[in-house]
């Protein structure tokens, strides 16, 4: 190994649900950095630790089942191993394969593939306690000699075996010499196709050959960069020959799995002393009988959802109030420090209001992430997907789309990012495109303000339900119903494709680790702040400037400050634009003030609350709870007919319907751009949602006006 290269590059890899993340945490502790893989938005976890003066740089790769990648997540892991340069990563010095001891056979499939890559490897035998519970004894020495690499028994969450694992990594692990051999004709074809002179490259070529050979023609969207890079003329010639040969013989795809499992079964039978698989499943069966039972499972699922929403929307209250107070205090603090003028306005109305508008949602998002993390770590999320799959398949999606959509109720950004686990490109796109239709928490302030201002407080259905709550609920339902229709249409037209397949492991239940869940929560929270914050900030400043310039002279000296700000707004670029677009928003029942409030809320929906505050001749320190703004809205009248109130029930409904369906969120569009690597999809989303919102708001206004006037 190179003396100059100070740190040893280590890849941590394994099947999903093997306790890999807890092992990673145990190995590196707090020394973690989160980045992205180049060209992909999948988080890259890199951690560092020291062993006897040697620095180990450990990458936690996404969990995968096979080196023949089936989803963008898996592709990343494969790229890191096969084409280190294309993935802009250092070549890996050591690979640590994490194995779930209680699920040895299937876990070894990936391991045998990895051991053949010519990279020094170590096997970490994790979750031994579960295997022991099931009265399974694994002969570790025997396993190590069968695999040809060191095997270390670890227990990530109990910090066991971590020192041994570190020292095994640092003391130059060995390259496995064992490999699964295929039939003579395949081995001959691989030998002929391999042109590389040194071992590691030859090993990679072997892997690429197998990938190309086994993976059928419907390569879906995964671009096989590594294959292209390695394809020489000999390679492709041999590959074609081999493909033809096996296509004639029948099952080309089963060659690799059959050979590997045959090899694995042989190893396992000599290593595992007593495998009582029946027993290992007892606990899971008991829980699953309740959790995924068609009836009780659905009940638990609904209870979980209720709890989640309760947590997101009510438990976050105090924290949100605190943040809002903090930013108000900050604003008034700055106001008292800096004299009236452009700088003060920029800092208070632009920067502080902009940052505050994003940070206020952090409590909800953290709570959501915490709950989702808990459910994921416990093993419930896979069950939720299992329960939802039937419904989702009706619109051409699968149960895997459920988690992204659930997250979108807090915020579409994490929802869109969570869609990465979906294998098929079209299904992933369809999920991402409908995610912004879920009523996110940014819509809540709008709903609350407009409901309070326009919908009369009345108890209906025998006094059980308040009319306002019903309106609020129907806005959420509207988003869901529209999303279902849009998904169905998309899957029938632009994103044609069969209903995706659903092949999912239901992992065994385990005690969630609070430290892992919290760490993930904070990291995702920071991601949100960075992603959303920077953009909203930029746009808020822009909107601020449009509302601030050109400066108009106060015509009458005695006007109050709020009245002056009203006049200023009317004459600003933003105000002029609002008046110009009035004919467009008139059919929706809106006056120009609502029009510009909506225009100004392009960067983020919740901005509309603050903007309305300014427009309706108030200060801009209004929030949805303030009685002042609510009453001002109630009293607002049309400019051309002062006897007619603006905020009638139809107008309120039309505003809410518009906000339920519109794409007024720059951050969502930016994340879509990032995830799809193209401007096409965010543009499409913006157009379809805005058109939909406009039409729906118009229909709502017309229908509601007619119904109420009768």
């Amino acid at each position: 190994m190179n003396e100059n290269d100070k740190s040893l590059h280590v890849a941590l890899l394994g099947n999903p649900n093997t306790g890999k993340s807890s092992l990673f945490n145990a190995l590196v502790g707090g020394q973690q950095q989160v980045g992205n893989y180049p060209g992909a938005t999948i988080e890259k976890f890199v951690g560092r630790c020291k062993h006897e003066g040697r620095e180990l740089a450990i990458v936690d790769l996404p969990g995968l089942y096979s080196l023949n990648p089936a989803s963008p997540d898996e592709q990343v892991a494969v790229d890191v191993l096969l084409t280190p340069n294309a993935a802009d990563m250092q070549g890996m010095d050591v690979v640590v394969c994490v194995l779930d001891a209680s699920n040895l056979v299937r876990n070894l499939y990936l391991t045998t593939q990895v051991l053949e890559l010519g990279i020094p490897a170590i096997v970490a035998l994790n979750m031994m306690d579960v295997a022991t519970q099931a009265e399974t004894t694994i002969d570790v020495k025997q396993l190590s000699s069968a695999l040809g690499v060191p095997v270390v028994v670890t227990h990530g969450s109990r910090q066991q075996g971590i020192g041994e694992l570190r020292s095994a990594i640092a003391s130059a692990a060995v390259v496995a010499t064992t490999k699964v051999t295929f039939s003579e004709s395949i081995e001959a074809a691989i030998a002929a196709a391999t042109t590389a002179t040194f071992d590691q490259e030859a090993a990679c070529q072997r892997r690429c050959f197998l990938n190309e050979l086994t993976l059928s023609t419907d390569n879906e969207s995964l671009e096989n960069e590594q294959a292209k890079a390695n394809q020489t003329t000999e390679f492709s010639a041999e590959l074609d020959l081999c493909k033809q040969q096996f296509d004639a013989a029948g099952d080309r795809i089963s060659i690799e799995p059959i050979a590997r499992y045959a090899w694995i079964n042989q190893v396992v039978s000599s290593v595992v002393v007593r495998a009582d698989t029946e027993r290992s499943l007892v606990r899971r069966r008991w829980l699953d009988r309740v959790l995924i039972h068609p009836f009780s499972g659905s009940l638990v699922f609904l209870a979980m959802l209720t709890l989640l929403f309760q947590a997101v929307f009510s438990w976050s209250g105090p924290a949100m109030d605190l943040i809002s107070m903090l930013f108000q205090w900050l604003g008034s603090g700055v106001e008292s420090l800096i004299t009236q003028g452009m700088l003060r306005s920029l800092i208070v109305d632009g920067l502080i209001a902009g940052i505050g508008g994003v940070v206020i949602f952090l409590p909800q998002i953290l709570i959501l992430f915490f709950f989702i993390g808990l459910m994921e770590d416990f093993g419930y999320m896979a069950r939720a997907a299992y329960l939802m799959d039937n419904i989702m398949s009706k619109v051409g999606l699968s149960g895997k789309s459920f988690i992204p959509l659930l997250s979108s109720f807090a915020c579409a950004i994490p929802g869109i990012m969570a869609a990465r686990s979906i294998k098929n490109r079209n299904d992933r796109l369809a999920t991402m495109l409908i995610a912004p239709l879920m009523s996110c928490s940014a819509r809540l302030p709008v709903y609350i303000l407009i409901t309070a201002a326009c919908i009369p407080e009345r108890q209906i259905l025998g006094g059980w339900v308040s009319q306002q709550a019903l309106v609020l609920l129907s806005m959420y339902l509207l988003g869901i119903v529209v999303a279902i229709c849009v998904a169905w249409i998309l899957k029938k037209t632009m994103l044609k494709g069969k209903t995706p397949v659903f092949v999912m492991e239901l992992p065994s239940f385990k005690m969630p680790s609070i430290s892992i869940v919290s760490r993930k929560m904070f990291q995702q929270g920071m991601d949100f702040v960075k992603q959303a914050g920077t953009l909203i900030l930029a746009c808020t400043v822009l909107i601020w400037a449009l509302a601030y310039f050109p400066r108009s002279e106060p015509a009458v000296e005695q006007l109050s400050a709020t009245q002056t700000s009203g006049i200023q707004l009317r004459n600003s670029y933003l105000g002029r634009a609002g008046q110009a677009i009035e004919p467009v928003v008139r059919p929706l029942g809106w006056d120009w003030k609502i029009g510009i409030a909506v225009l100004a809320s392009f960067p983020a929906r919740e901005v509309v609350v603050g903007t309305m505050g300014v427009i309706y001749n108030l200060g801009d320190e209004e929030d949805e709870a303030s009685a002042g703004l609510k009453d001002h809205l109630k009293n607002a009248t049309w400019d051309d007919d002062p006897s007619k109130p603006v905020f009638t029930v139809p107008v309120g409904l039309s505003i809410m319907v518009f906000f339920a369906l519109c794409a007024q969120c720059v951050s969502t569009l930016a994340v879509l751009k990032k995830e799809t690597q193209s401007w096409r999809w965010p543009l499409f989303t913006f157009v379809y949602m805005t058109v939909l919102a406009y039409v729906a708001a118009w229909v709502t206004f017309v229908v509601a006006s007619n119904c109420l006037s009768v």
Binding site: P257, T277, F502
Partner: protein
């Protein structure tokens, strides 16, 4: 293993608490490959455990883990029931 004279049986047809051995996975796309990679290779013993809210997806156990498949995917896997295992499973 003797070839049964009956029409082929698929995982999707398997009754609850019944174990069977995989005979073959049909189809030549990524889905079939993933089924094979998940351990559904010829000879593997699979037990049908339960099913989702409206009869789909189905839940199976194999090699000590739990796998859920839709009926359409389960229909790709041809199986053969083992008479002895069926008794075992019904006892537990």
């Amino acid at each position: 293993m003797k070839v049964s004279p009956m029409p082929p049986l698929y995982l999707s047809d398997l009754r609850r608490r019944t174990a069977a051995n995989v005979v073959a996975v049909h189809g030549a796309d990524g889905v079939s490959l993933r089924l094979l990679e998940m351990g559904l290779v010829p000879g593997t013993q699979v037990t049908r455990v339960g099913s989702g809210p409206m009869g789909d997806p189905l839940e199976f156990e194999l090699l000590g883990f739990s796998l859920s498949l839709r009926k359409t995917e389960a229909r790709r896997v041809e199986v053969q029931v083992q008479e002895v295992r069926e008794k075992d499973a019904s006892q537990s």
